[in-house]
């Protein structure tokens, strides 16, 4: 059995490395469509890592929402732009050094937060896992307030989209 566990571990590391390679591709490739496909690969890879961490519900939702819906919308948006036929686009501009600085600051902050958080690993918590039922109970119980706020924001966004997409009233001139 140990051999299988070790094999699975190596598989996860390989997937992680691939995710990083594709993530580099997203920001360095000079063709918008190629970048979008790399992004899709990154998202699928992340879902695989979730699966390896036994968060199978999150993995399925990641693929359903990000790869299935968001990626399609991104590709659709690219198809509507003028860059569709172009072979190359520059991915960087003069602001990139500043952006790198900001990014390093962000990584530092996140790292600090992760290191300072106590991660309580108890036997009971490991045994329960992330079942869909407990997630649902948490969303409808202790986290019902943020959940409702998110729903209100989503409805506002929906109404906004409808208002923007509506035909303009004909101007009387």
């Amino acid at each position: 059995m140990e051999i299988l566990t070790i094999g699975a571990k190596f598989g996860v590391y390989i997937v992680m490395a691939l995710v990083l390679v594709f993530a580099l591709g997203v920001v360095t490739l000079r063709n918008l469509f190629h970048s979008a496909l790399c992004l899709a690969a990154v998202l699928v890879g992340t879902a695989t890592v979730y699966l390896a961490l036994r968060a199978d519900f999150v993995a399925a939702i990641q693929i359903l929402v990000y790869v299935g819906a968001v990626m399609t919308l991104i590709i659709f948006a690219i198809m509507l732009t003028e860059h569709l036929g172009e072979k190359t686009i520059r991915q960087t501009n003069r602001q990139s050094p500043a952006a790198i600085l900001g990014l390093l600051g962000f990584i530092f902050m996140i790292g600090l937060v992760i290191l300072r958080t106590p991660w309580p690993v108890t036997k009971r918590a490991l045994a329960t896992g992330t079942s869909v039922m407990s997630l649902g109970k948490a969303l409808m119980g202790s986290y019902v307030f943020p959940f409702e706020i998110i729903s209100v924001i989503l409805i506002a966004a929906l109404i906004g989209a409808v208002v923007i997409a509506k035909k303009d009233p004909e101007e009387k001139s």
Binding site: L4, A40, V44, I61, G68, T72, L73, I75, F76, M79
Partner: protein
Amino acid sequence: MTMPGWLRSIEFAVDLSFVNAKGWFLDLLGKFLPGWIVVLTSIVISGVVILCMGPIIMMYLTLLERKLIGRIQNRYGPNRVGIWGLLQPIADGIKMFTKEDIVPANADKLIHLLAPIVIVIPALMVFLVVPFGERMTAANLNIGILYFIAVSSITTIPIFMGSWASRNKYSLLGGMRTAAQMISYEIPMTLSVVPVIMMSQSLSTNTIVMTQCGDVDLHWFVFTPWGLTGFMIFFLCAVAECNRPPFDLPEAESELVAGFHTEYSGMKFALFYMAEYMNAFTLCGIATTLFLGGWQGPFLPSWLWFFGKTFLLICVMIWFRGTFPRFRVDQLMGFAWKFLLPLTLINILVAGLWQFVPERTAWLYSVPILIVSLWTLVKLNRHFVPEKRAYPLAD
């Protein structure tokens, strides 16, 4: 329902013959080899069975479709290769392999090559959670149905890759249409599954089948008002998801040559074709699992029931293809967003009602609610005439 004991045991043995054969083989291996090899072999056996079954089912689906369409159109269909044309798919396969592979000069070579390969992967991956019979699910995931929906939603991306990489206006138009259609129909399809999940309290395909159990008194979900509505919506969306007529706008041959696979030839084209047919099969299989009781059924072995029901649904799909004209684009979008989506939401409400009310009263409530809402939606959706376009140069 009483059955003599010996008949019962024979039925049980036939039912589980594949499962028992695999278990016996693994037991035999376990006597000589360490445990991890046995686990690995178990995975490999399931994998190989799925990898072989997908293409074989696809080959004979094409034959079935050509035969049935032929009968609908008052001709014989293929009948030259082998008896009843049974070897026709193999002849087609040899033809596909030996054909020249043409890549357009301006195409994006790598993505043009990757698209047909990538499209087969999700089509094969969804076979994992289809329960082919009692204890015959390759991987009994506890998020089974969600896994199915998630993995089958990936299919849009390879279609897009193929359409974009071909550098052809027809391909691109086909790809755009596919994206719009698949995103639109995914939503009512996912929502029509929700009542089933509510009733069976589980996402696992096995448990969903188990909750519909019953020997002769059938407890299939399709025999309830919300189940029937959900099944209709799911099946229509399934037809749209695998781009079959009357929802075949992405490859409408009268407008777009062949849509997204216009620039594909030889084996690459065959792979697109294969993915489409395997998707049709798995979608019908999942519809069977969710609403038609999966492998549940009296007398016959469970896998026979499953394949029987699934092929019945596939025959309905072929029947659609033989009889219905193609939708217009605005009708296609309107049908998903203005008709199916509100109906699924009402259906979820009805299913919720069903949960908390005793069965007799629930029938009294839910049937009128569904009929009234169906009638209202049909009334609201009627008589839409698109804007008249002026073509000054053509007149």
